[in-house]
Amino acid sequence: MKPESYDGENGHSMLKIKGLRKSYPQPSGGRVLILDIPQFEMPAAEQLVLRGESGSGKTTLLQIISGISLADEGSISIDSIELSKLSEAARDRLRAAKIGFVFQTFNLLPAFTALENVRLGMTFGRGKYNLERARELLNKVGLDDRMHYRPSQLSVGQQQRVAVARALANQPRLLLADEPTANVDPANQQKIIDLLREVCRLESVALLLVTHSDLIAQQFERVERLDQINIASQPSTVTT
């Protein structure tokens, strides 16, 4: 997994984006440019909030960063590994090894227990399958007494905490959190944010958190607005 240029020392860029462009086809035949980010960088273990309006391309950006989607142009490197040079299978392996995902809708597998959902997070990474870590993570998010509960037996806040534990199960270097508190009641929102920040700090994981909330954003030292880093924020049609 590690390329020859791999630089694992603290202080290097965990995420580096250069000249990223992403457009989507339109029914009329043209393409809409969604993302055009000349430069963006995020150091290892940093905690950063990315703000943007609905439809501004936040989710698309997270999917490109995680290797789920491909950019049309530009370079994205995660922990010094250039994504555009990797095959789809290699991007899958990179995601399994270095990236954690917390979704807005939790996306827990309903047939699995909390513990099984967390274990799923470490299933696809190589050599990281560790039941003890799964238990430890659930313990960290305060669900040690709910390990064998299915998602339907857990409250919304508890479900999101399971999702946080799952995102950290593979010991990622970068955690992507897409509106993690959007579906959580206000009482639990702060708990989720505190939890995310705390476990990321403890595990030295870089956190890229997408949110609408001013209340949450103001707690972070670095807040980026997508419309400022994305020059395509005023959509224009690009004929290809």
Binding site: A89, D92, A97, L109, L120, F124
Partner: protein, 432 residues
């Protein structure tokens, strides 16, 4: 899936049991059956399995053609009646060195079971078992005697099933009925002197009576036939009351006697078959080749049909698995996308769906297999009693059964292929 496989396993077991039962019973202890001309299959069904109606009879004097000159004379002296040249050796005596010929007479019933009239050599000379090396043994009593002081000619030996079902023991009396179990019952009683140990052969379901007594039953003497027309001559009024008193009973003379079949063990059976078959009234049949012929004619097509049935079950199961997994794919698109987001490759989700389809197929198949065998095992006492074939839960009586599970793995893979490809092509970015 489970139901289909269960039914298939059950039908396969039944087919296998019939097959095994037929083959097992082909080890009858004799290598030739001589009977009247007619269907060779019917002769075997009659003589080996005690099934179907008996074909025509043979004259007792023909049976004596298997005797040496000395024995013919001896028999003539004992029975009396007309016999040409009793001192000459029988026409087939030369083939009988080291062998034996046992007569059987069929047609009557004891309860619902076939009555087999024969002589005591049936249990003395015949053997049974897979290697034909087990002598008939008695769980109670003894073999019947040609003529005993106590019961005269009227002794009977019962097969284990007959004794069990009719709750008969030593000393009990049985009566033969004419033609069928609901036919006229002969007044004369036979005393049960022996009960056979279970052999797993049709003999367990037969009541053996001394043929000397059988001949003396009403209407059992050969009818006199008009030499020109061949029709039976009218009978004189039957005065059986005194005849049936064992102390006064006389043996039926040779010319009044008939036999249904002659069971022959001979080292020269092949040589003997041709001259017998040349006669206008008798045929010699090898029970083993006839039974195997029956297997080929009747059982093999059934086995092929079962194989096709199995394949059809597999195809229907495959379609049902495909439909059920395919229908669930819409609901599971998000789960698959989540797995992909957590790092699962396309190959991994493809393998997961294929494994799931295989698991459904194999689990359903195993469930059906267990169910089918459980039913067969539950019916084991009845099947063993009727066929002698022992069944345990794990018995496999039909070798193609071993193909069920590997076939189901293939079925699972084929059935899972389309849903797996749908999973493989899931667009993660649109499904999350």
């Amino acid at each position: 899936m489970a139901l289909g496989v269960g039914l298939t396993v059950l039908v396969m077991s039944i087919s296998g049991i019939i097959n095994e039962s037929l083959q097992r019973n082909s080890n009858v202890g004799y290598n030739l059956i001589v009977g009247s001309k007619g269907s060779s299959t019917q002769l075997v069904f009659n003589s080996v399995y005690y099934l179907s109606k008996p074909i025509e009879t043979l004259k007792y004097s023909y049976y004596m053609e298997f005797f040496s000159g000395d024995r013919r004379q001896e028999e003539h002296a004992k029975l009396g009646g007309n016999l040409k040249d009793p001192e000459r050796p029988g026409a087939y005596a030369m083939y009988m060195r080291g062998g034996f010929a046992i007569p059987i007479l069929l047609g009557d019933y004891v309860g619902r079971f076939r009555a087999v009239a024969t002589n005591s050599s049936f249990f003395e000379l015949l053997q049974h078992g897979e290697r034909n090396d087990q002598a008939y043994a008695f769980s109670a009593g003894r073999n019947f005697q040609d003529e005993s002081e106590e019961h005269g000619f009227f002794e009977a030996v019962l097969g284990s099933e007959v004794a069990r079902e009719m709750k008969l023991g030593i000393g009990d009396k049985v009566q033969a009925s004419h033609g069928s179990d609901s036919g006229d019952v002969h007044e004369q009683e036979f005393t049960v002197v022996g009960i056979l140990k279970a052999t797993g052969t049709p003999n367990d379901r037969a009541a053996f009576i001394n043929m000397e007594g059988f001949y003396l039953l009403e209407q059992h003497a050969a009818p006199e036939r008009d030499e020109v027309s061949g029709l039976d001559k009218p009978k004189a009024p039957h005065a059986h009351s005194d005849d049936h008193e064992k102390s006064k009973a006389k043996r039926l003379p040779i010319d009044k006697r008939e036999v249904t079949a002659i069971l022959i063990r001979s080292n020269f059976a092949v040589g003997m078959q041709k001259p017998i078959n040349k006669t206008p009234f008798a045929q010699a049949v090898s029970p083993v080749s006839e039974i195997f012929g029956l297997l080929q004619i009747y059982i093999e097509p059934v086995q092929w049909a079962l194989l096709i049935l199995t394949l059809l079950v597999c195809v229907v199961s495959a379609i049902s698995i495909l439909v059920s997994i395919y229908n669930s794919m819409n609901e599971r698109t998000r789960d698959i996308a989540v797995m992909r987001a957590l790092g699962a490759s396309r190959d991994t989700v493809l393998a997961v769906i294929l494994c799931e389809a295989c698991l459904i197929a194999v689990c359903g198949g195993l469930l059906g297999w267990v169910g089918g065998h459980a039913i067969a095992a539950l019916a084991s006492p009845m099947i063993e009693g009727r066929t002698g074939v022992k069944i345990s839960f794990l018995s496999i009586h039909y070798p193609n059964e071993l193909w069920i599970i590997p076939s189901l793995v293939i079925v699972g893979i084929l059935a899972g292929l389309i849903p797996a490809l749908v999973a493989y092509r899931t667009d993660v970015s649109k499904s999350l």
